[in-house]
Subunit: 134 residues, 4 copies
């Protein structure tokens, strides 16, 4: 399943090179995975509050192919690339119309409130696994 | 007492107008008041952790007179403008060399961990009051 | 005319106080005025590119009454408060449901590409003036 | 040559997980490479303005091992990992005291003002190459 969400570039997202600052794409990645998770029927906030599981980013990669400019509408396409008992990987592609601007991924591990790595609770794992289907 | 701290403008602070984004000056205000408080012999982190007092911003004002550009070194000058049992006001002036770029203030109220407005504890009040002296 | 636009709070908008960082509301103000201007039939990008007019912020004020938290959906309500030949003032109110969280204003002056303050071109002035009507 | 620069974590850098937001580390990477380049005797701003060369990020990778918290002083250690006629790679390690929190790299390509990839000018190449020495 691919989640699509649009984002309009703010003045505050750009830098003096007149394009979106490279670090700000990681906010778009956050928007992408948040909305993908929501489409599985649970919000990330609920994962933290109700399941007691936090999913910190342990790795991020991004490849910048073309620039996003002020006021352009981008499309963030996100999919669940990999799901393991102790690991979840999201993949992102950011488009302007049909042009791929940026692609990347984030790796997360489930930890509990004490900061210890734990297995995904079974019900949460099944919900997330539903995102692997088409 | 006036605290002075320097700050070099990042690419990530600027916007496509080629100057520092107006919202990012509020980060500089934070740097200014944090270092001013530290000069009183307590850090803002200690105020939260040891005194149980949080000082949220309830008002901010900024006046932009001239622009800060990429890689410029700015000087943030901060002073304690007003201290009352239930209120604290910081004033900021941001300079490039001797040119005043931006000035403003923030108003904060002391709240406890439950989010209730409280009087400053006496010892903290005295520490902060020392910043009113020259 | 009041423009309304929704915004969902990102992890990246919040701070370790568990609420939206005070500086990030200025991004929401930007979203608000950008969409209000667009509703007048011209985008801010077009004002810069086609009219050669830039509208830098010369003053900002914000009053924080209650906090915005992660994943909450906010409503940004923006109106044109004042329009003069050399000045434009936008007013913002940010709500969560019916609760007013933050209100504020920004003052802008029209400058040309050389950075000189100029009168609004007549056609642009008329477009913006249409926002003063109900 | 390794450049070291300290950075104190702001409230505005953290998120509601009470640690530095993952995207904000890319600002620290920027600080690191900017100061490393400056130690070669030229600033990145001068590379843009005097050499007409821009060095956009085409790839970024970061691995997060431990969290940075509010008010902590971090050390950003940056080195030039690779220098080719059409490519430059910086490597970053961010420490709190002796604990490695985050490591990563950025890949940049030299482009001219028209956005075309070009070889590094010879004098600039030699300056940057000096960073490869111990």
């Amino acid at each position: 399943m691919i989640n699509e969400v649009n984002y309009r570039v703010l003045y505050g997202d750009t830098d003096c090179g007149k394009v979106m600052y490279y670090g700000n794409y990681l906010r778009l990645f956050e928007i992408g995975r948040t909305e993908l998770i929501r489409s599985a029927g649970i919000s990330y906030r609920e994962i933290e509050e109700k399941k007691g599981i936090i999913l910190p980013v342990v790795e991020v990669f991004a490849k910048y192919k073309a620039s996003a400019k002020y006021d352009e509408i981008l499309t963030i396409k996100t999919l669940l690339k990999e799901l393991k008992p102790y690991k979840i990987v999201f993949e992102y592609k950011i488009f302007k119309d049909h042009q791929l601007l940026t692609e990347g991924y984030t790796v997360h591990v489930p930890i509990n409130k004490e900061g210890k790595i734990v297995r995904f609770p079974e019900d949460l794992y099944q919900l997330l696994a539903s995102l692997l289907k088409k």
